[in-house]
Structures are given as C-alpha cells and as structure tokens.
C-alpha cells in the first residue's frame, strides 16, 4: 500500500497495513463500538462503513470489503465523529484519510466533477481550472495596493496565502478585496505569492488523492522557502488546517493564522475603525476546519459582535454541534454523486436552519461556503430573505469608505 500521511516524529510511514500496530492504531483498538460516530455523521445513514464498522472490520481482518465500497466518498471530513467520540479516537485525523486513500485508489471511476477538480488542481494549481497567471487578477479591483512577492521580494510581516476560491471565484474575490481593505486599515505590511501560489491541497488529501497533496506541498513549501516573512495568514479554512497540521510536520516553521483569527487578535485596534452601522441580524456558520478541528469558535463571533448594528443569533446546531456545509474532503465536487445516491445536499440542510433563525445574513469564514450557501439559498427560494457574507466582508463594510480608514 502506497503513499500515506507521515507520522510525526521519526517512525515508519503509517499505512493501513500497519495501522493497528501503530500508536494511533492501538488507540483505535480501544473503540467501544458505541456507534456515536455513525449517529453524529451527517451522511452516516448513507455510508456502508461508518468509522465504528470500519474499525470492527479492520479488527476482523476484513479491510478489503471496506475498501471496495465507494460509500466512504460520503465522508466530508467534518470532524464530527472525532469531536464526539467518547474514547477520543482520532478518527478524522488518522483512520479516515488512510481508508479513504485506499478507497480512492480502488474506485472504478472517479466521479466526473471530482476528477475534473483534481486534474485542474494538478495542472493549474487550482480546482477551478483557471490560469495560474490570473491568480492575482483580483488585485486590479483592490481598494489598497497589493504587493506580489515575485516582483517585490523584500521581507514582509504577513505573507497572505489567499487560496483558490478566494483568488478566482467572483464572490471569493470580494473576500480578498475586503481582507486587503482590512489589512490596509490596520496598516499591516502584507504581500501575496500571486501566480507562485498553488492550492494548499487539503481537500485533495482528504478526498484520498495523497500523491497530489504531496506534489502541492512540495511546490508550496519550495515557494514559501524563497521569501522572508514573519507569519503566514490565509483566507482558506482548509488551507489553515493543512498548514497547521500537515505542512508543519513537513517543515513549515512560521506561525500560521486564519484571517478570522488574525483580525480577532487585533480587535482592539480594529474596533475604533468599525464606524459604519450595518443594522442586520447575523447568524454564523462554524466551518468544520476552523471550529471542530481547531477550536476557533469565539474569534469569528467576537469580530461579528464588534460590528456596530449587528445582532448575532445562533442556529440550533452551532459550535461543536454545527452541521457541515458538505464541502470538505472532496465534497465540494461531489454534489452530483450525493444527489445520484438520493441524498440531500448538506448545504441545503444548513441553509434551512439558518433561515429558521430569522437572520438577514449568514456569516461564514471558509471560501467554499459562500458559493455553496448562495447556491442553496437560490435553489430553495430563500435568496430574497438571506444573503451570505464572509466575516471579513462584514468587517470591511463596517469600515466605511477606504479613505475614511
């Protein structure tokens, strides 16, 4: 069995074969088969082998049966099972990626949209299939000048890793412009990698395409190594996750922050600049990567609460109980696959809950969610009742005009 995740510290590469003998695997052996993982999984009923059954099958030496089922594609790596496991087993960190890699390698056919996204990511460094040269095209509409390190390589405080949907998707570009405006207002010394930046690759890894993830980490670490910067700040929730947990093990030394955490840390300086009253009721959707996996529940809420005229209301499922938008682990490109199996899109499920709060704005902090939720709002006929905004967009709006900053 092939390429897999490196085990932190020196040790043999962890594979499905030696999994149960590894420290993490011995821990998995202590599974009490309670089934909370399957119960909390948003697609648990659609999966032939939820984590509890996978562990049972591995113990019984029946791994091949598990790997032959493509239903693990329903795992959107939302970290729900891991967060709820009473034994504290690292299901989403250790077990599921290893099994998923093997499942992916055995798929008779990769679902078409996922295949295209992976091929695009390999060739162009972004799943949208856009020109790598246009990765910084959004800066043309930026309210403040944006330095690109390839053309001006002086040391910088904040190396801002924009990520793909933020750099290319029209609504993601709105987030980029908002973030640039906030950096400008705070007087942050920042720069981007532009065309040298490639997808951080977290979704490729968790879709099971670990070889692609390795190619992307190689390329990104090489480029990051060329420049001098004090901290890496990213707009991507999944990129933040990858940098914090995977790139770190591969030698990334600098501190890593998500834009939400970065601005929350500087809230005292930001607060006096937030002068424009928005007058809206906002509900916040916790991204799985930031929330359940990295415990970042308070930062986005603190930012929203600091905006004048924002009333914050919570959805029934929030923080550790928040339900996933369905975009993780390759799910971003599996809506057709899910639908063909008769399953509701998780973004639709989440949007219904958001609308039920009566809020005007659904605030998010992950670039996938803007397009996913906007699409769901349209499909369900709610587009006049609710809009989707990245937290940074709401902050930038509260700044008022750039010259006022």
């Amino acid at each position: 069995m092939s390429l897999t995740m490196p085990v932190p510290a020196a040790g043999p590469t962890l594979t499905l074969d030696n999994l149960l003998d590894s420290p993490g695997g011995r821990e998995l052996q202590t599974c009490i088969q309670c089934g909370i993982c399957a119960g909390t999984c948003p697609y648990g009923d659609a999966m032939d082998y939820p984590p509890r059954r996978i562990i049972g099958m591995l113990r019984a030496g029946l791994a091949e049966e598990v790997l032959a089922s493509d239903s693990l594609l329903f795992c959107v790596t939302c970290y729900s099972c891991m967060a709820k496991c009473p034994r504290g087993l690292r299901l989403t960190e250790v077990l599921l990626p290893l099994v998923k890699e093997q499942v992916f390698g055995r798929l008779p056919e990769v679902p078409a949209e996922l295949q295209k996204a992976l091929e695009n990511t390999h060739r162009y460094g972004n799943p949208l299939g856009e020109s790598p040269r246009k990765r910084s095209a959004w800066t043309a509409g930026s309210p403040v000048p944006v330095r690109v390190l390839a053309t001006d390589s002086r040391p910088v405080d904040v190396l801002w890793f924009t990520e793909c949907y933020t750099a290319y998707h029209p609504r993601g570009q709105d987030t980029c412009r908002a973030t640039a405006k906030l950096f400008g207002a705070l007087g942050v010394d920042f720069a981007i990698l532009g065309h040298e930046e490639k997808c951080a690759g977290e979704c490729a890894r968790l879709a099971g395409e670990t070889g692609l993830f390795e190619a992307l980490t190689d390329a990104n670490l090489k480029v990051l190594g060329k420049y001098e910067y004090a901290r890496l700040v990213t707009s991507g929730a999944h990129a933040y996750d990858a940098f914090t947990h995977e790139y770190r093990a591969l030698g990334l030394d600098q501190p890593v922050e998500h834009t939400t955490g970065f601005f929350a840390k500087r809230l005292e300086r930001l607060k006096p600049l937030l002068t424009r009253k928005l007058g809206v009721t906002v509900t916040y959707h916790d991204s799985c990567a930031l929330g359940r996996h990295n415990g970042m529940y308070d930062e986005p809420r603190a930012l929203l609460a600091a905006i004048p005229g924002v009333k914050l209301v919570e959805m029934a499922h929030n923080r550790v109980n928040a339900t996933c938008c369905g975009g993780g682990g390759g799910g971003m490109w599996l809506d057709t696959f899910f639908k063909a199996r008769g399953q509701e899109r998780l973004a639709d499920r989440r949007v219904k809950e958001a609308v039920a709060t009566g809020a005007d704005v659904l605030a998010v902090s992950c670039p996938y969610e803007v397009s996913r939720f906007e699409d769901s709002l349209k499909v369900l006929g709610y587009e006049k009742r609710m809009v989707v905004r990245d937290v940074t967009e709401l902050l930038a709006e509260a700044l008022g005009a750039p010259e006022a900053a």
């Binding site: 092939s2 390429l3 992916f104 390698g105 056919e109 990769v110 078409a112 295949q115 992976l118 091929e119 390999h122 060739r123 162009y124 299939g129 856009e130 020109s131 040269r133 395409e209 670990t210 070889g211 692609l212 390795e214 190619a215």
Partner: protein, 261 residues
C-alpha cells in the same frame, strides 16, 4: 491485438494566445502545451480495448515540451509501451507530421504491424482533422473518423472491428472496418480515466520512454502559414447616455440619418 495510440501536444488555451515575433506563429513562451483532448480519448478507447481484448497498447508522440509527462501518464493508466520520436524541433506541421510518422513507425522495434492506430479525429491546431487520414493514406490502410466506439470481436478472427461513427444531429452509423486501420477518435466510450498522481510519479521512477530518432523522413509542409492575427474588432457599440427622452431623441436622429425612420 496491437493498438497504437498517437498523442500530441497542443497549446493550452487557458492562457491568452499571443502571436510570435515572426507574425505567423504562436508565441510558444506565452502558452503551456497540453495533450490534445481527443488524443486522450483515443488513449482511453485503447485502454478499453486492452481490458476487453487483452490488447497491447503502445503510445507514441513526437518530441515536444512536456510530452514526457503525458507519456508517463499513459503508462500509469495502463499503456504497455511509450515511444518518443526525437530530433524534431520545432514540431512539424500536421501533413508533414503524418509523413514523419509513416516513415518512422516501421523503424520502431517490435511495433509493426499494428492492428489499430488510434488518434484524435481533430486537434485545436488541426481542425480539418488531416493527421489521421494522411497517415492512413501513407500506410495504405483504411481510415474512419469521428469515431465514438470500437469493438473487436475475437470470434471474428480479430481481422475486423465494429466501429461507431457519429454524424450531425446525433445520428450514428456502425461500420465494419477491415484491420489494420487508422481511426480518428472523437470520444471514447467513456470519459478518460483518472490516474492518481502517485501512480504517475511511480511510473516516472520505474518505467522508461523508448526513443527513436525521426531521421530525415520529414516532408516539406504542403501549406505555409503566411500571417497570423488576433481577432480584430470590426466596429464598436455606441452607448447612448442621458435621460430617456434625450436618449430617444438621439436614437430617432441616428435612425433617420440612416434612412430607417
């Protein structure tokens, strides 16, 4: 059964195309080459034949930037051999390439005779689809283009293939083709398969590309490009601005000036 797949690189139009300094070719520094999409379908069709008929699949390409990765990818997907024709820079134009291929194929060790030659029926730099029929003519074997499916029945002795060809309006014809033959593939029976990056990397480590010199089998191009230009704006829209009354008056004036009102 031996199946030969011809693959070639074309400009990737994800980037803006620019005209080169000579004014009659593309600026190749401004674009990245990519494998021609229909050639990828030709490979997929060959791999389907390999699965159904235990065919041996050889992929062959003329030397070009980034073609090595395309050939290794084909090996990772299941092709048995990959051959690169070297010594041709820059790559010859389509009709000349057919002449090169016809001359070089007999020189590839243990390749000929092949039962089927599959190539894309078109490429973005060969919209007339000249390559495959030109090659068939030079090899003196039949050609069928716009192909969307190929079946070879072992029971039939393997000397004919049942080939689907597409026509306008979704009409399709089924042909019996005597082998050997050259087929211009429009689309394989299913979309080209995905191959994990790790498998391509493994192929790059473990497999080798066979190289064969092109020799002087090339022919002078039959047509010559004399000039290449970007699309030019032939006219422009005039936007009428102001309040509706003023716009309407202006519009009437313009129409009257052209004798339309």
């Amino acid at each position: 059964m031996n199946v030969l797949v011809l693959m070639k690189m074309v400009p990737d139009i994800v980037e803006e195309l620019e005209i080169g300094a000579d004014g009659r070719s593309l600026d190749l520094d401004a674009v990245r080459p990519i494998v021609s999409e229909r050639d990828d379908h030709a490979l997929e069709q060959a791999l389907l034949l390999k699965e159904r008929n235990a065919a041996t699949v050889t992929v062959l390409a003329l030397e070009a930037p980034e073609v090595d990765e395309v050939l290794f990818t084909a090996l990772a997907k299941g092709a048995d051999r990959a051959v690169k024709v070297t010594g041709l820079e820059p790559a010859p134009a389509t009709a000349a390439a057919a002449a090169v291929l016809a001359a070089v194929l007999p020189k590839v060790p243990n390749l000929m005779p092949v039962d089927l030659v599959l190539a894309g029926c078109q490429a973005i730099d060969d919209l007339d689809g000249v390559l495959a029929p030109s090659l068939a003519e030079r090899l003196g074997i039949p050609y069928l283009g716009i192909v969307t499916g190929v079946t070879v029945e072992a029971a039939g002795g393997g000397d004919t293939a049942s080939v689907l060809k597409e026509f306008a309006g979704g009409t399709r014809g089924r042909y019996t083709v005597c082998l050997p033959a050259v087929l211009g593939v429009q689309a394989a029976e299913k979309p080209p398969r995905y191959v994990p990056v790790a498998k391509v990397r493994a192929a790059m480590k473990a497999r080798t590309l066979e190289e064969i010199p092109a020799g002087d089998g090339g022919a002078a191009p039959l047509v010559e490009v004399t000039a290449m230009t970007k699309p030019e704006a032939a006219g422009k829209a005039e936007m009428l601005e102001g309040d509706p009354g003023a716009v309407a008056a202006k519009l009437v004036e313009i129409l009257a000036a052209r004798g339309l009102a």
